[in-house]
């Protein structure tokens, strides 16, 4: 994994983060909400190799920690996403190639997004945060799962194309 790709992918994630905070966050989704940023980060992680999953999990989490509306310690999302990156890296060989199985990728991304939020909540609970009760948090996670499952298939082809562009010539071969 080259430095230029780390930079390219980080800038891409930063751009998605900007769209999430400026545009998607202002839509009143029923039940809870939807994070396009987490969904796209999960797609990126699922397509990376072992080290890539870890590195982009950490960077992706750090970018989430930048959210101005976040009232949580800086680094909490980075920790949660590093754990998710690790889970992806360990199971990379098991889950296989998703290019021919879009439904499997959508399901994985939806579940992984929910798991990442759950890890974030658990870390928050360990740090003594009050996020308004388990039921409230679970309803947000469930809503995100539902919306991710419904919306992700729309932009997956675009993300796959963007990722191909972000790969260096050597990595494409």
């Amino acid at each position: 994994m080259s430095r230029i790709r780390v930079l390219n992918t980080s800038l891409f994630l930063l751009f998605i983060f900007l769209i999430q905070t400026s545009l998607i966050a202002r839509i009143n989704f029923p039940i809870g909400g939807f994070s396009i940023y987490i969904a796209i980060l999960m797609v990126v992680l699922s397509l990376e190799d072992r080290n890539g999953s870890l590195v982009f999990g950490f960077i992706g989490g750090l970018i989430m920690d930048l959210a101005p509306s976040a009232q949580t310690p800086f680094g909490q999302w980075a920790l949660a996403m590093t754990v998710i990156g690790y889970i992806f890296s360990v199971n990379r060989e098991t889950v296989g190639d998703f290019n021919d199985r879009p439904l499997a990728l959508t399901s994985l991304v939806s579940v992984a997004a929910s798991v990442s939020m759950l890890i974030f909540i658990v870390i928050g609970a360990l740090l003594g945060q009050n996020n308004g009760g388990l039921l409230h948090s679970l309803s947000i996670i469930f809503s995100n799962l539902l919306w991710t499952f419904l919306i992700t298939p729309i932009f997956i082809p675009l993300i796959l194309k963007v990722r191909k562009i972000l790969l260096t010539n050597r990595e494409r071969v």
Binding site: N28, Q71, F74, V83
Partner: protein, 304 residues
């Protein structure tokens, strides 16, 4: 070779986990660098949020519009009838008129309460991923806004300023489940605590066991020491259901907020409270009912 790769991954994992924990520790210990980064990002993002707010303000209500499609369809039919009447009139931007109306009403409320306020526009809502009900407003420390100031709308309480940058602030909405405010039942001395439940309803726990709650009772903020975070007298909500439970020491009630937090676009941050407590003067007065007298037309009798 595989073992070397595995060791490298493990080392990378440990390095990243340690880095994350280091950052969390720095933040929890209150190192300015970390909060500085967030404030920097907020300062950079807020102009973009402002731009998106102007461009995509109708997008926010898209989902709720879809939910209320049937009702909207009926309204559209009625509105179509009115279009002909409005054709010859100058139609101002509805959103702008609404914002102006909200601004006028919020300044009116602040004026009646004797509050010194800074008006602000809501430029963004907190992401669901933050697990907090927040909004971003377009005023910050440059306008004199500081942490823990009360935020009001045209009808009453909205929330409390939680963090401030130079040109924007994050407001924790009263609907957040962690939000609690001391309230008083208007017209009485009964006090209680109102808590957010994540939606449009709230829970009132009356502290006075002998106090009486009735449906329709209006609640006002009691105010805090030095008026932070709550100034006294701000209307908060109206009791909708009283939970009568003889075994409970305290009395509970469901409360509906006086402010529709989903629709707010203009708010005001209370910079300084009035010298005295405005008591119940900010509670909206009920509209007087109009009595219509109808005189029956005499029906002609068969003999006429």
């Amino acid at each position: 070779m595989a073992s070397r790769g595995g060791n490298r991954s493990r080392l990378l994992l440990v390095l990243l986990l340690v880095s994350s924990l280091f950052l969390i520790t720095l933040d929890l210990r209150g190192v300015n660098l970390v909060s500085g980064i967030r404030n920097g990002v907020s300062t950079v993002i807020s102009p973009v949020e402002n731009l998106f707010s102007k461009l995509f303000s109708p997008v926010g209500n898209f989902a709720s519009d879809v939910r209320n499609f049937r009702q909207s369809k009926k309204q559209v039919t009625e509105l179509n009838k009115q279009i002909d009447l409005l054709k010859n009139k100058q139609v101002l931007d509805e959103d702008m008129v609404n914002q102006l109306s909200q601004l006028r009403n919020v300044l009116d409320l602040a004026g009646r309460g004797g509050y010194k306020v800074v008006a602000a526009r809501v430029i963004n809502r907190g992401s669901a991923a933050t697990f907090k009900k927040t909004v971003t407003i377009d005023v910050g420390s440059r306008s004199g806004v500081t942490k823990n100031m009360t935020v009001i709308s045209e009808s009453g309480l909205v929330g409390v300023v939680k963090s401030v940058t130079s040109n924007s602030s994050i407001v924790l909405l009263m609907s957040d489940p962690t939000f609690k405010v001391g309230v008083r039942i208007a017209g009485t001395q009964s006090i209680g605590v109102l808590s957010g439940k994540g939606g449009s309803t709230y829970l009132l726990e009356l502290l006075d066991a002998t106090g009486e709650i009735k449906i329709g009772d209006a609640l006002v903020a009691r105010g805090s020491a030095d008026n932070r975070p709550f100034v006294p007298g701000v209307p908060v909500g109206v009791v909708t259901t009283v939970q009568s439970n003889s075994s409970s020491i305290t009395q509970n009630a469901d409360v509906e907020s006086i402010t529709n937090l989903e629709k707010i676009s203009v708010v005001a941050v209370v910079i300084a409270a009035a010298k005295g407590d405005p008591r119940d003067s900010l509670i909206p007065k009920p509209q007087p009912t109009q009595t219509v007298y109808v005189t029956p037309t005499p029906t002609p009798s068969p003999g006429d």
